[in-house]
Structure formats: structure tokens, C-alpha cells
């Protein structure tokens, strides 16, 4: 039997005696009979550590992880980057891993300062004044941005580009069922948002990707002009690695900038835990969801950090809180902060450039495959390809040959000419020879 309960039978017996009880179940005498569970849960009895690890290992072996046996060209919001050994080791220190939300600042300066640094780093990246101490993931960050925009503008119509990750768009729809916001999707022209068709009159916000899900660099300046004319907020969903080279969302006029932070050194992990980045203009600070860490001093005048502006949170304002998020992704935020500091100023821009270069090398090769066509105009590190055969079939066949070929475009693009095309990327990890053999294999596979 496995258990982490330290108590010996003798100790339990004595504890019961001191409480005047005969057996542990006496503690539940006051429970109503109907609610009392009889018998044993119908799950197996406990096992040893070794048995658990055997089981989990046997499950893990039924997956095909990315690596030498499955070379990854898939992105779509989750990228196969290298992580640094130092960042991984530092983030997994038990002081960070096994502590709670830093409610008691005297004994939580480690987490608090790390989060303060994280907020600074992401603000510098996004070009905006305020960053919260993380949200669950990219999609949640966008949903929260929509909520903020509606609360701030007291409007409820939100325009969302179809160039945004289809899962995020689904999430907006799901949560709108509660908030009652009216979500209007803005169609695409090619791979970019058809801004000509947009009417922002009375809208709370326009949400747009940068680069978008399809890898296309959207015209944010045009979007900003539309927003300015109507008083809508510009909400930008950005790719942090692209933004190391591209102008920052803040610089382009974003009021709120959100992102999936996975590409900042977080493992692929079958989609989670990832990291929602959320930054906003300073004037919106009191509407920002989630936790904020601020600098202050202690009674001796020593510099110190503390969670602040707590009045936005549910533990103070309850139903009037700006958001319900409590537990967030702190550890992943710390990991990303350490990874960013490891990358450093020049390293981060080199990473970005390497992704750009590998992707361009890949797209050039794709263009030479008979029947294959790159659909993007301006793209940075990801692009869409039309192939002679269906993308789903391509992915299956390529997997048999050791490649995760990309992500097939399907859900969220119904009625779009993009259905059946393939979204692909090459990160800094992809070597020239890997890309070459991918191209060769793809050529064979689509020719069949």
C-alpha cells in the first residue's frame, strides 16, 4: 500500500484516546447517513513508487514524443524550442515548486521577486506598461482581454479576427455564453484579416493576431486606425518569439497584448501547463485580471515585494472582481522569466532570427515541391501550404516516416478555402539536414 501518511498505528491509537474516540470513523459520526460513503472506492489498492513509475512509463511509451524519432515541424501555438538546462534546473528548485501563492510576503520574497522580474520582462517584450503574474494559457489571456475591454468600455460587442487560433476563438465563444458578450468574427482575405469589412462602431475591442495563427503578419497599424476611430480597444495576440524581431504590440498601438508563453522555454507537454501572457496600458491597471506584484519596503526600509492592488481580486471584491482567476501559472512564469534572462538581449533576438531563417529555408524548399504552394504574403516563423493531397493524410504519412509534418487546418476554418492546408514551422532546433530530409520525404509523400 502506498501512502504519505506518517502516523504509526500506535500514534493513531493514542491520538484517538486523547480525543476520547475509539476509531477514526468515529470522527464521521456526525455525517448524515445518506452522505456517508460505504465500502471501498472501486479503484485498485495503493501500490509502490516503482509500480506507479512502471505504469506511467508504460503509458508514456504509447506516445510518440518529438525528438530524433519524430522531428517536429508542427507549431500552431506550441513550438519545439530548446530549453536551457540552467533555466529548467533553477525553476525546479523545491522552494519555488512547493510553495503556495505568496500571501505572506515575509517568507515569499523568492517567488515575489521572480514574478516582479517576470512582469518587467514581459512588459518590455510587449511594449506595454503593466503585466500580470500570468494567466493559464494564451486562450485564457485572450478571453480575459475581451472581458477587460467590455468592462472598461461598457460595451459588449467584440470583433475577433478569424486569423486568431481557432481554439482561442472557441474559448471566447464558450465564455461569452456566460458574459453575454456578442462575438463577431472578422473574415480573412488570404491569410490576413479582411479589415475592409470591419465595422467597429460601438465595439468594445478588435482582437487580432500578430503574427496570426496562419503565420501572417497582420497590419496592426491599419487595425489601430480603425480602433481609434471607434473607441474600441486594440487587443493583440502576439507570438513572443516573432516579437523579438517585429515591432512590439505596444509600439503598434495595442491597448492589451496577450500571448501564449509556451515558446519561452516551456516543454510541449501535450498542451499544458503553458503560460498566458497578459499586458496592458498603464491606465487599465485597475481592470487587469490576475495577480500583480509590486515593489515596496519593509518596516526597516528594506526593499521588498508584495502582491498588490488586491482590491481587483475575488478575495476582496467577490462578485465584482475583475476576474475569477486565483491559482495561475506562477512556476511556468518563473521558468519563462529565467529562460528569457538566459537568452538575454542578443540571444533572444538571435533565437527569433534563427526561427525566421529556418522557416524561410523551409518555405523556399516547399515552393520547389511540385503542386505545393505557400499561401502567405508576410510571414515570420510559420506559414500555410496548399498541397496536392489532404493535409491530414500528409501528416499521417509523414508520421510513419519520422516527421510531425505540421498541423492540418480544419476546425475553425469551416467554409474557408484553407481547409485541408498544412501549417508548418521550423524552429531554431531544426538543422539544415533535418529540413532537407523533411522536404525530400514530403515531396515523395505528396506525390503518391
Amino acid at each position: 500500500m502506498g501512502s504519505f501518511v506518517p502516523h504509526t498505528d500506535t500514534e493513531i491509537a493514542k491520538m484517538l484516546v486523547s480525543l476520547g474516540l475509539e476509531e477514526i470513523d468515529d470522527l464521521y459520526d456526525h455525517l448524515p447517513q445518506g452522505a456517508r460513503f460505504k465500502g471501498d472506492l472501486s479503484i485498485p489498492l495503493g501500490v509502490s513508487e516503482a509500480d506507479v513509475l512502471d505504469l506511467m512509463d508504460s503509458l508514456a511509451r504509447k506516445n510518440r514524443p518529438t525528438g530524433r524519432e519524430l522531428i517536429c515541424f508542427a507549431g500552431a501555438g506550441a513550438y519545439d524550442h530548446d530549453s536551457s538546462a540552467a533555466a529548467m534546473a533553477l525553476a525546479s528548485q523545491s522552494a519555488f515548486v512547493t510553495s503556495y501563492t505568496p500571501y505572506q510576503p515575509e517568507v515569499a520574497q523568492g517567488v515575489l521577486q521572480a514574478l516582479f522580474e517576470y512582469q518587467t520582462l514581459i512588459s518590455r517584450l510587449s511594449g506595454l506598461d503593466v503585466t500580470n503574474a500570468s494567466l493559464y494559457d494564451g486562450g485564457t489571456a485572450l478571453v480575459e482581454a475581451v472581458n477587460l475591454a467590455c468592462a472598461h468600455s461598457k460595451r459588449s460587442r467584440v470583433l475577433v479576427s478569424r486569423g486568431i487560433h481557432p481554439h482561442y476563438r472557441e474559448m471566447i465563444q464558450t465564455y461569452a455564453k456566460g458574459s453575454g458578450h456578442e462575438i463577431v468574427e472578422v473574415g480573412l482575405s488570404g491569410c490576413s484579416t479582411n479589415l475592409d469589412s470591419v465595422s467597429l462602431q460601438g465595439a468594445a475591442a478588435l482582437c487580432i493576431g500578430y503574427p496570426n495563427y496562419l503565420g501572417e503578419i497582420e497590419d496592426l497599424e491599419a487595425a489601430k486606425r480603425l480602433c481609434e476611430a471607434s473607441g474600441a480597444l486594440l487587443v493583440v495576440v502576439y507570438d513572443p518569439v516573432a516579437v523579438a524581431t517585429l515591432r512590439s504590440p505596444g509600439d503598434m498601438g495595442a491597448d492589451v497584448a496577450v500571448a501564449e508563453g509556451q515558446s519561452l522555454g516551456v516543454p510541449l507537454s501535450f498542451g499544458g501547463p503553458y503560460l498566458g501572457l497578459f499586458s496592458a496600458k498603464g491606465e487599465l491597471v485597475r481592470s487587469v485580471p490576475g495577480r500583480l506584484v509590486g515593489e515596496t519596503v519593509d518596516i526597516d526600509g528594506k526593499k521588498a515585494y508584495v502582491t498588490t492592488l488586491r482590491t481587483r481580486e475575488q478575495d476582496i471584491r467577490r462578485e465584482k472582481a475583475s476576474s475569477n482567476v486565483c491559482t495561475n501559472q506562477t512556476l511556468i512564469a518563473i521558468q519563462a522569466a529565467i529562460h528569457l534572462s538566459w537568452l538575454g538581449k542578443s540571444g533572444f533576438s538571435e533565437l527569433s532570427r534563427r526561427c525566421f531563417s529556418a522557416t524561410r529555408y523551409l518555405s523556399d524548399g516547399i515552393s520547389r515541391i511540385p503542386g505545393a504552394k505557400v499561401l502567405n504574403r508576410n510571414f515570420f516563423r510559420e506559414f500555410v501550404v496548399e498541397l496536392p493531397i489532404d493535409a491530414g493524410t500528409t501528416v499521417e504519412r509523414m508520421a510513419e516516416r519520422g516527421f510531425l509534418a505540421g498541423v492540418a487546418i480544419r476546425e475553425g476554418f469551416e467554409d474557408s478555402p484553407l481547409v485541408g492546408t498544412l501549417l508548418m514551422t521550423a524552429t531554431e532546433k531544426r538543422t539544415k539536414s533535418e529540413i532537407d530530409s523533411y522536404l525530400q520525404t514530403l515531396k515523395e509523400v505528396v506525390a503518391k
Binding site: 504519505f4 452522505a35 537568452l343
Partner: protein, 505 residues
């Protein structure tokens, strides 16, 4: 020393006191232009200049102003920061409502398995059979433990679970034609509950607690009508008391067509003892990071799966992993027919679920029951141990935690709950949750958890008693106001932080 040695600037030293008594500079202060940790694989791909391909209107003129530090200084910085942080691995953490139990190390091995953590979420089904099986297995465990029929692992934390569960209730009621729009919440509830209710488009109706700290059923009866969509509770409630009328409450709510929502933050009290399903709940979220011992990470990531009764299964978020009905051991995805849609960018915090499953399998039915048994025993024993020194606003046996009040002590001595909390640090313990639940003045909410030994619980009792005694002694009282003195920093000026927020360096 000559001035020639004085050029050093643009970065402070990374020297460090052994035990963190000095302030650690920020990573930005350690930065020196041109310094670097990173290096990149020699990929053989020629580096292109984006400016040669992309229009300049897209391009930054300056690199993002990240810190420039050596790997050595990076490691020093974050090692020293970690030394300024209390954690479960350091000592007891009796933070009520948070279930800060021991997080088994084998789960770190699970989280580190390449077969789990190097899997791309966009992989086709055939490549992720292990993950699908794992999620289905975790669902089966969780449903059995909660007494439910189906579950989703998409919600990334408890609050996300709440919102998801409420949206499921909403969709279900809409489907049945109901226009009910109120969710009832006890006044002792956690702040995320009312916030989630609002976000899910319902109105909050608060019911008071009675003199025994439980839901006042008379008051409840008064607010129950056809406009009630449901009631949201945790049981044991935030006072650590089991709602003994729970089956009756459920019946009353069900009678007006409402559904019962279980906030699983306190599930650690009732594993194998009382299942939310048996209590009468229809929707249950669990905080895997509490009950199932996945580490809390300084504030996350967690996982807040939602389990529901059969009637609600069709409304869960999708896609959901499932066993393929035609083949024994093959797994795939399935969209519940009336799904509310996605609530996560991918499939939730999958690796956290893997940790929790490992914990459930390790404990098994016997170990899980024992965990709750000892959590409850520890709490009652601690409560009894300090009974001569602290007040308990409500009588009776508690479950895995209890709320004491320092109100009397405050009246008599001026020492507040906060002083008691801060004084515990100096005695080697983390503080309990203070000033929550809101309905108890000077609340100290104490949850020892089952992984603390009787020796540790006893030492915690001794520390609490010592503090209470000193509060009453004019000679020793002031030291409690001054506490803590042994921590890296002392009491903070929180007002200053909020008045003039400095949120970035």
C-alpha cells in the same frame, strides 16, 4: 586602490550572504551590456537578416531590453531567490483551504518523462495513445472518487473549474427550457465562487450561516424558487465543518429545479468517506493541486477538472479523450453532443493531471481514505491541543481544518491574528490563512494536512500556545508585534505598494 579599478558599473556584484539576510538585486541590476548566457545549436541553416525580406514597418529598431547576464550570475541570482522562499519541503505549511501537503517526488519523475512532456498537442491520435489513455484513466479515478459520471480536465485551476461547471449548468438549464438565473452561495464561501457566478452570467444570492457555522436552511428555504439555477458549496465548508444537512439542502435545491455545485477545494477531507455525488451534488470541481498533491508552484500551475452527473455529461467542454467503443485499447477524441465548447487552449494542464493520476494510483482506495482520515484526525487533535488558548467560533468535530479566532486575544491584549501569524514564522512554521473566511473576526484558518506527523502537529500546537501565552504577558507581548525578525524581510508597507504601484523595474 587606484581609480583605474573604479570603472566597474552597470551591474552590481552577485555576491551573497549565506542565508539571504541581504536584499538580492534584481536581474536587471545584474545586467551588463554585452554579457550573455545563451548559445544556439549549429544548425547549418544560413542566418538571414529579416530586414532583407520583411518590410521595415514591421521591424523593431532595437532589441528587446532583456537582461544581459552570465549563466553563473543567473544561477546565483535564482538560487539566492529560492533561499528567500518558504516551501512545503522546508517545513509545515498549515495554510487553511490550501491543503499544503507533501508533494511526492516521484511525480517529478513522471513530469520529466520525455514520452509525456515532449508530445506536441497537435499530434494526430495515433501518436498520443498513451496520453489519451492516461486522461481517460484519470477521468475514471476522479469520477469514482467524486461519485460522478464524466469529467473534463480542461480547466487549468479551481476557479476555471467553477466557471466551467457553472456554464455547464447554464447550458443544461437552457436546454431544459429553464430561465433560472440565480446561484446561491453561503456567506462563508471562497471569493472565486461569487466571481465565477458573475462571469457565468448568473446572479449571486448569498445565504447566511447559522449559529453552528452551517448553511441556515431556513434562510435558504426563503430564497428558493424557480429562479434558482443552483447552489454552490464546499463541504466541509470553509469553516472546516461538514454540512450535516447536505442531503436535505440538495433535495431542497433540486426541488426548485436547481443544481448543486461542489467546490472541491476541501475534497481532501472526504476521500472515500463521503462522495459529493452521494451528498447530492451534480457538478464537482477538484483542485488537483490540493487534494492530489501536485505541487502548487508558488501560485500555479494547478488543475481544476470538472466532474458531472450523467445528465450533464453531454454538456462538458470538448473535445474529450475517450475509449473507442469498437476497439478495446484504442483511444480517440469525442465531442460531447451539447458541449459548451473549449475552456482551454489545448487539453488543460495535462502534465499536472499526470502527476495527480500517479498520486491516485500510488495511494489507491485504501491510501486515499487514509489520507483523509489522518487529515481529519490531525486537525481535530491540533484543535483540541490548543483549545485552552484559542476560541473556536463554532463547536463540534471539525473535518480536515478548523477556524480559530483571535478576537478574544485581541480584545484582551491587542495582539491580532496577523501578529500571531507573523510570530509563527519565527517558530519555524508557515502561518495559517488569516482573515478568511470573512464571517469570522480575526480568523485563523488552520489545516495541518495528513502528511505532518503528530510530532510536527504537536510542535505547531506548542508554538501557537507559546504565542498565546506571550500575548498575555506584558513583558513578552511587544515581541509579537515586532515579529517576524528572522525572515529575509520584515513586515511590509503594503499601503505604499498599492498607493503608488511600482509593478515593473
Amino acid at each position: 586602490m587606484t581609480e583605474l579599478f573604479d570603472f566597474v558599473g552597470g551591474g552590481v556584484a552577485s555576491s551573497s550572504p549565506l542565508v539571504g539576510s541581504d536584499t538580492e538585486p534584481t536581474i536587471f541590476e545584474l545586467s551588463v551590456p554585452g554579457r550573455k548566457s545563451s548559445s544556439f545549436r549549429n544548425s547549418g541553416v544560413d542566418l538571414l537578416d529579416p530586414a532583407s525580406i520583411l518590410e521595415s514597418r514591421f521591424l523593431r529598431s532595437e532589441e528587446v531590453d532583456l537582461p544581459e547576464v552570465s549563466e553563473r550570475d543567473l544561477v546565483g541570482h535564482y538560487t539566492r531567490l529560492a533561499s528567500r522562499q518558504y516551501s512545503v519541503d522546508m517545513g509545515a505549511y498549515p495554510l487553511g483551504s490550501c491543503t499544503m501537503k507533501y508533494n511526492p517526488k516521484f511525480a517529478d519523475s513522471v513530469a520529466g518523462m520525455p514520452g509525456l512532456n515532449r508530445v506536441h498537442p497537435g499530434s494526430p491520435d495515433e501518436l498520443v495513445q498513451g496520453w489519451l489513455e492516461l486522461l481517460v484513466m484519470a477521468e475514471e479515478y476522479l469520477c469514482e472518487i467524486t461519485g460522478m459520471q464524466a469529467a473534463t480536465f480542461q480547466p487549468a485551476a479551481g476557479a476555471a473549474g467553477e466557471l466551467t461547471g457553472l456554464l455547464v449548468i447554464r447550458a443544461y438549464l437552457q436546454h431544459t427550457g429553464s430561465k433560472a438565473n440565480k446561484i446561491i452561495i453561503p456567506d462563508s464561501s471562497h471569493g472565486t465562487n461569487p466571481a465565477s457566478v458573475t462571469l457565468s452570467g448568473f446572479d449571486v444570492v448569498t445565504v447566511p450561516s447559522d449559529e453552528s457555522g452551517l448553511v441556515d436552511t431556513d434562510a435558504l428555504a426563503k430564497v428558493l424558487d424557480g429562479s434558482v439555477a443552483g447552489m454552490m458549496m464546499t463541504n466541509p465548508n470553509t469553516l472546516g465543518l461538514f454540512e450535516v444537512k447536505i442531503t436535505e439542502i440538495a433535495r431542497m435545491v433540486h426541488e426548485v429545479g436547481g443544481l448543486m455545485y461542489y467546490d472541491g477545494a476541501n475534497l481532501n477531507a472526504v476521500l472515500g468517506i463521503s462522495r459529493p455525488g452521494d451528498m447530492g451534488f451534480d457538478v464537482v470541481h477538484s483542485n488537483l493541486h490540493k487534494t492530489f498533491a501536485t505541487p502548487h508552484g508558488g501560485g500555479g500551475p494547478g488543475s481544476g477538472p470538472v466532474a458531472v452527473s450523467g445528465a450533464l455529461a453531454d454538456f462538458l467542454p470538448g473535445p474529450k479523450p475517450c475509449r473507442l467503443s469498437d476497439k478495446e485499447n484504442e483511444f480517440g477524441w469525442y465531442m460531447p453532443p451539447r458541449s459548451i465548447g473549449r475552456v482551454h487552449s489545448h487539453f488543460g494542464n495535462a502534465v499536472v493531471v499526470a502527476r495527480a493520476l500517479a498520486y491516485m494510483v500510488y495511494n489507491g482506495s485504501d491510501g486515499l481514505k487514509m489520507a483523509s482520515d489522518l487529515a481529519v484526525l490531525n486537525a481535530n487533535w491540533l484543535k483540541a491541543s490548543i483549545a485552552d488558548y484559542y476560541e473556536f467560533p463554532f463547536d463540534g468535530v471539525c473535518m480536515h481544518e478548523f477556524v480559530a479566532s483571535a478576537l478574544q486575544i485581541k480584545k484582551e491584549t491587542g495582539i491580532r491574528g496577523l501578529d500571531i501569524a507573523k510570530s509563527l514564522f519565527e517558530r519555524g512554521f508557515h502561518a495559517p490563512t488569516v482573515y478568511f473566511p470573512l464571517i469570522v473576526e480575526e480568523a485563523l484558518m488552520i489545516e495541518p494536512t495528513e502528511t505532518e506527523s503528530p510530532q510536527t502537529v504537536r510542535a505547531l500546537a506548542d508554538a501557537l500556545i507559546d504565542i498565546a501565552k506571550r500575548a498575555h504577558d506584558p513583558e513578552t507581548k511587544d515581541a509579537l508585534h515586532d515579529a517576524p525578525t528572522t525572515t529575509p524581510v520584515r513586515r511590509l508597507d503594503e499601503a505604499r505598494a498599492a498607493r503608488n504601484p511600482k509593478l515593473i523595474f
